[in-house]
């Protein structure tokens, strides 16, 4: 069942939200310490056909040397100098646990052709280029295609084999409040049809609606994916920026960056994220400034204990 043309990029968007940078990055990184010379870096680049080398100090990235820096060094006769003298020090790094969509946003936003990837301790663990992303997407798409073919149904919705499973992605546009509520309405219908307790339906639908409105009111646009199986509902909201600088602040009731127009629509009370967190059984938020925000909320269909 092929949907309108939009469906294809939507699939790709969904893929970039579900994959983590860790799954896609190259783990073999050629990095140098700050005492290495520009000549050393040039040799590494030449021997390994790479165009950028991070400079590290006890595993922390402190700079990057690009081909451009090397050309400059040739011209200025700096090839024997330590890299610390000529490296680019304003380095953007990505974190390995971030969704791949953050990397896509970063490549769209900045002119760089690679980003060093760090772990939670800010230590260099990999490097990511647009090529890594292309390869990962192609691999993932062909894997899904093979799975569809083996299912024997050709192009059929993956829900056909199991009526209790539901999986759909919705596109949400900045400031298009009319488009908000589609996912939550469908979620409500799906849960009603399964005879789920009204209380749980309400918690799930409100969580979903808050996340829909968040993307519409606060991001440049994004997607919301619903996944329902026998035990739980997973709501994943992804957007492509601008990201949240201080997540603790954003999670505080009453804190809002909403403008007057958003407020005139009845939103922007600073309760969206706190509401969603309170209502969900599990709640994870990740954000990168200029890259995007990902929220994952899980609601159990058969909870042992009601959250307050």
């Amino acid at each position: 069942m092929l949907q309108p043309e939009e469906e294809i990029p939507l699939r790709i968007q969904e893929l970039t939200s579900n994959l983590k940078i860790r799954d896609v990055m190259a783990r073999k990184v050629f990095a140098v310490t700050k005492t290495c010379t520009m000549r050393d870096v040039q040799a590494i680049m030449k021997n390994n056909s790479i165009s950028g080398v991070p400079v590290v100090d006890s595993r922390h990235v402190i700079g990057v040397i690009s081909v451009h820096d090397i050309m400059n060094a040739f011209e200025q006769n700096w090839m024997q100098d330590p890299v610390a003298d000529h490296m680019t020090t304003s380095v953007w790094t990505l974190e390995e646990e971030q969704p791949l969509s953050f990397a896509v946003s970063a490549f769209n936003k900045f002119p760089y052709r690679r980003f060093p990837v760090v772990n939670s301790k800010n230590e260099l663990v990999g490097i990511i280029t647009p090529r890594n992303i292309n390869v990962a997407l192609i691999q993932e798409l062909s894997r899904q295609l093979t799975a569809l073919e083996t299912e024997g149904g050709g192009i059929s919705p993956p829900t056909s084999s199991d009526t209790l499973t539901f999986h759909r992605t919705y596109r949400l546009t900045r400031y298009d409040f009319e488009s908000g509520g589609k996912a939550s309405a469908e979620l409500r219908e799906q849960l009603r049809a399964r005879g789920i307790q009204p209380k749980i339906i309400r918690r799930a639908a409100v969580t979903c609606y808050e996340l829909e409105i968040n993307i519409i009111a606060h991001s440049y646009g994004g997607t919301l994916t619903l996944f329902i199986d026998h035990d739980r509902i997973r709501i994943t909201a992804n957007d492509f920026g601008p990201g949240i600088a201080d997540i603790d602040q954003a999670m505080t009731e009453g804190y809002s960056t909403a403008n007057d127009w958003i407020r005139s629509q009845g939103f922007g009370a600073g309760m969206g994220l706190p509401n969603a967190k309170r209502l969900a059984d599990e709640f994870v938020i990740q954000s990168g400034v200029d890259m995007g925000t990902m929220v994952k909320a899980i609601i159990q269909l058969n909870p042992k204990e009601e959250p307050s």
């Binding site: 509520g181 409500r188 309400r202 639908a205 939103f267 922007g268 600073g270 309760m271 509401n275």
Partner: protein, 109 residues
């Protein structure tokens, strides 16, 4: 009180609910996230936010009725959405405060 029995000065019903549901109380607010955090099922929503998002929120929370205060007009798309969800829509000529007071009196709260 049944939704369709709700009556007080300045109140007009512009969209009756098709099956008669029960109003157990009310919640007055214009911030929809606040409504989503606090409105309890069965409570009518008293607001000046006369647009479709209000209906969406009332639906999610199980509010049987919406009262648009201060003579706010309910447009056709709002009424259509409310009818689809079986939510009664009223318009009150009075301010939110006054409407809330009269509503409480009518309900005997």
């Amino acid at each position: 009180m049944k939704t369709n029995e709700l009556k007080f000065d300045g109140l007009d019903c512009v969209q009756p609910a098709s099956s008669d549901s029960e109003i157990t109380g009310g919640y007055t607010s214009d911030l929809l996230s606040d409504v989503m955090a606090h409105l309890k099922e069965g409570e009518a929503l008293l607001t000046i936010q006369a647009h479709k998002n209000t209906v969406a929120v009332a639906t999610l929370m199980g509010a049987p009725a919406i009262i648009f205060c201060h003579g706010r007009i309910a447009t056709a798309d709002v009424l259509e959405a409310a009818a689809k969800e079986n939510i009664a829509v009223f318009i009150s000529a009075n301010s939110q405060f006054e409407t809330t007071c009269r509503f409480a009196k009518a309900l005997g709260i």
